[in-house]
Symmetry: C2
Subunit: 452 residues, 2 copies
């Protein structure tokens, strides 16, 4: 597999920095893409980072700032003056500028806005009004639009004019006399068309649009569903106010799936692998304390059967198997249901169908693994009645796993909560309690019946 | 939140189908986007699906086929003749056509290829040679390219010519006299340029390219890293053979994260929420059997301490808490490490740093949850020495969780395996064994020392 991993000159750079060799550093940095400069900076120590950052050209520094993670960006933003920051922000597109300015304390934000072009500042101020995870928060104000009455030539002229300041133009949007969005023209259609013809003749009036308040996850789904490269954003009166491009959406898609993944693992969605131990401890401890509370609930069930275990200690040997297998099966069910909900694969009236299916899968896997467990315990010399117990309890607990693993994420969704959030904690409580209760409860019944 | 969920006329359609009202069905389908037609088909029964599918226009049917899930597509492909299928495949772009033809039995694949345009068939046959999850497997052969010696006007002419058959043109690729890729020109740069000027003057010669054998995950990372909309694909001699567009990459990104998510939950990556119970059972059972084997390993540890438990049954009540908390902490660690590896956030020499950090987080959380558990057990009336045991064992097991949760995914990665694959099974085996061994082992030591 010929992966083309670029060599990043981190070590060479460190040496040049230690020699305070300004020219050497500049020469190493110059051929790099801003994304790679950001990657190189991540390998340096705090003071080195700010030192190198100050050597970058304005446009490069501006692009690098956007590629860094939150904490390094905060570090660098704090290390420059409002005036310098205004110069960097001035180089950015409005959506990126808004992200940077939105993170600043109000006083500094105002200083930066005062330092950039008036028109740009106005755009940023408008964008700041939208919540970050909505279409309004993701859109940029830079776009190419023409009136419905324009000709193809006028539209091409407009693309030419805007090309100087906007990078990724792939569409011209068409608006009516009130500024309301009426359609979209792809750039290649524009090139193809008769220059003197009306733009109306080649406008796609069915083009998908969103209003500013639509959630980013929904926007991402529309992009995927209709294979879009960009999407016009309109206000509640239908007026064109911005556009969202696919490169911003790629990050949203990644973010949304990562969130589900993290939530099922009981993690704070903000945590990163290189966070400090203290920060990670603080983010994970609350989840573990909730887990501890549920573990005591399961222990309370075992406590009820203390005398049963006292009479037959081998029960203590096998009971974790029943609880653990339930937990494993439940994790499988939760992952499938949570992904299915996220992908929109579950039609509204399919809950019963999925529930029945998961219970059946639990039953089938319970029978299979139960038989295997019974056989293995027999080979290991356990009482055959204990083997039977193991089989029955495992079957019961894998049904509990299928049932609770489906019903709990679906219930969270119905209540308007995130189906991934805390699902695994609730469900493994069910399978722990269910596992101990079925295994030890049945054992107590067997004992009373005199067959154990 | 004003989510614009389109109303899909599933019920109306069912009624029209039952009345065998051909015109009614056509009228309901006509205004729908192919993606939405596919969604509507998913709500119908088998025979209804093929009946409606046959009513669709060729170009719509072709697009719908690509939007369906694997099994519905197989159903429909099986329901049409090779000649009809050739007509549908003839409407597709080469990468999509390759996906469909690649799934057919060889004889039928050849019939379909014989039924489409010769030039198209040649393209498909070439693409079939590349593994599906590589740049070659993801690319399409349709693209716009000109020689280095061309003028801007000639390039625009070429775009016009190709626009009739290719939908999403956003770049013109430039090649040398041998067909080797030498650079790329964005469409808006082309519109902006002087028509009589040479294309060379506006060509971006630093444009990122990949060779056909690069893994799709790596391609996706490059798209994200450099915010690309499309990427040229070259053979090992540098000759331009295709291009990958971002809409194909969006699916790759989603697929790759979903894979990690599924693997950590011990699931087969092909499973979907609406799969049949039989299919799900078959895919999950092997994982559960592996889990069962590891559960018996943990049980064997408990077995060693049977007499210890026999002397003090309360140990059986608390031991699942120690094992369970270790499992929870380990899942957190695995998720963070696996995501970090996937996002490329872990520099090659950071393994030691992450390992130390995760052990420290485990220690801190072990002390915190251990103290709480000790307190709760005391309140519940347990022997204070058992509480102390609980504290010590929990501290030890959360350290084990941090250590094994880091080292196992990293080791799998070093060995060239997927770090998400089976990580959770190995790690929870460590925490189960570690939990029982530390808790019961310490109990045995305490007993021998006469303090319990």
């Amino acid at each position: 597999m010929a992966v083309e991993e670029k060599h990043l000159p981190v070590e060479e750079l460190k040496e040049s920095i230690e020699r305070e060799d300004l020219e050497g550093v500049k020469k190493l940095i110059a051929p790099l893409h801003p994304t790679d400069v950001a990657a190189v900076l991540k390998g340096l120590e705090g003071p080195q980072v700010t030192w190198v950052f100050r050597l970058l050209k304005k446009d490069v520094a501006s692009a690098v700032l956007l590629e860094l993670d939150d904490r390094m960006r905060e570090l660098l933003v704090a290390s420059v003056s409002s005036g310098e920051l205004a110069q960097l922000v001035g180089e950015m597109e409005s959506d990126d500028a808004t992200d940077i300015v939105g993170e600043l304390p109000l006083a500094e934000a105002n200083e930066v806005l005062a330092g950039i072009d008036k028109e740009d500042a106005r755009k940023v101020q408008k964008l700041l009004a939208y919540p970050e995870d909505t279409a309004g928060g993701k859109m940029q104000a830079e776009l190419v639009s023409v009136r419905e009455t324009a000709t193809v030539r006028e539209a091409i002229e407009e693309v030419r004019r805007k090309s100087k300041e906007i990078d990724n133009i792939s569409n011209v949007f068409v608006v009516d006399s009130e500024g309301r969005f009426s359609g979209s023209v792809a750039l290649n259609k524009l090139i193809l068309a008769e220059e003197d013809g009306p733009i109306k003749g080649i406008t796609d009036t069915k083009a998908v649009k969103v209003t500013t308040d639509v959630d980013q996850e929904q926007v991402a789904k529309m992009f995927q569903r209709y294979d879009l490269l960009n999407m016009p954003v309109v206000d509640k009166n239908g007026r064109l106010v911005g556009r969202i491009t696919i490169d911003d959406i790629v990050d949203v898609i990644e973010e949304e799936i990562s969130e589900d993944f993290y939530r099922v693992a009981s993690l704070n969605i903000g945590e990163r692998v290189l966070d400090s131990a203290g920060r990670s401890f603080g983010m994970r401890a609350p989840w573990l304390l909730i887990n501890l509370a549920t573990a005591f609930i399961a222990a309370a069930v075992v406590k009820v059967f203390e005398s049963t275990i006292g009479r037959l200690v081998i029960l203590a040997v096998f009971m974790p198997i029943v609880a653990g297998m339930g937990g494993n099966a439940a994790t499988q069910t939760i992952a499938v249901v949570v992904r299915g909900l996220a992908l929109g694969e579950l039609p509204p009236n399919s809950a019963r169908k999925v529930l029945i299916k998961e219970v059946l899968v639990g039953l089938a896997n319970g029978i299979l693994t139960g038989i295997v467990a019974m056989g293995v315990s027999y080979i290991l010399g356990a009482n055959p009645m204990v083997g039977l117990l193991l089989f029955l309890a495992m079957m019961a607990n894998l049904v509990i796993a299928g049932f609770s693993g489906t019903i709990i994420p679906l219930a969270l969704k119905w209540w308007g909560a995130d189906p991934a959030l805390a699902s695994s904690i609730f469900v493994t409580t069910c399978t722990d309690v269910g596992g101990f209760l079925s295994f030890l409860g049945l054992a107590a019944v067997f004992m009373r019946a005199g067959i154990l």
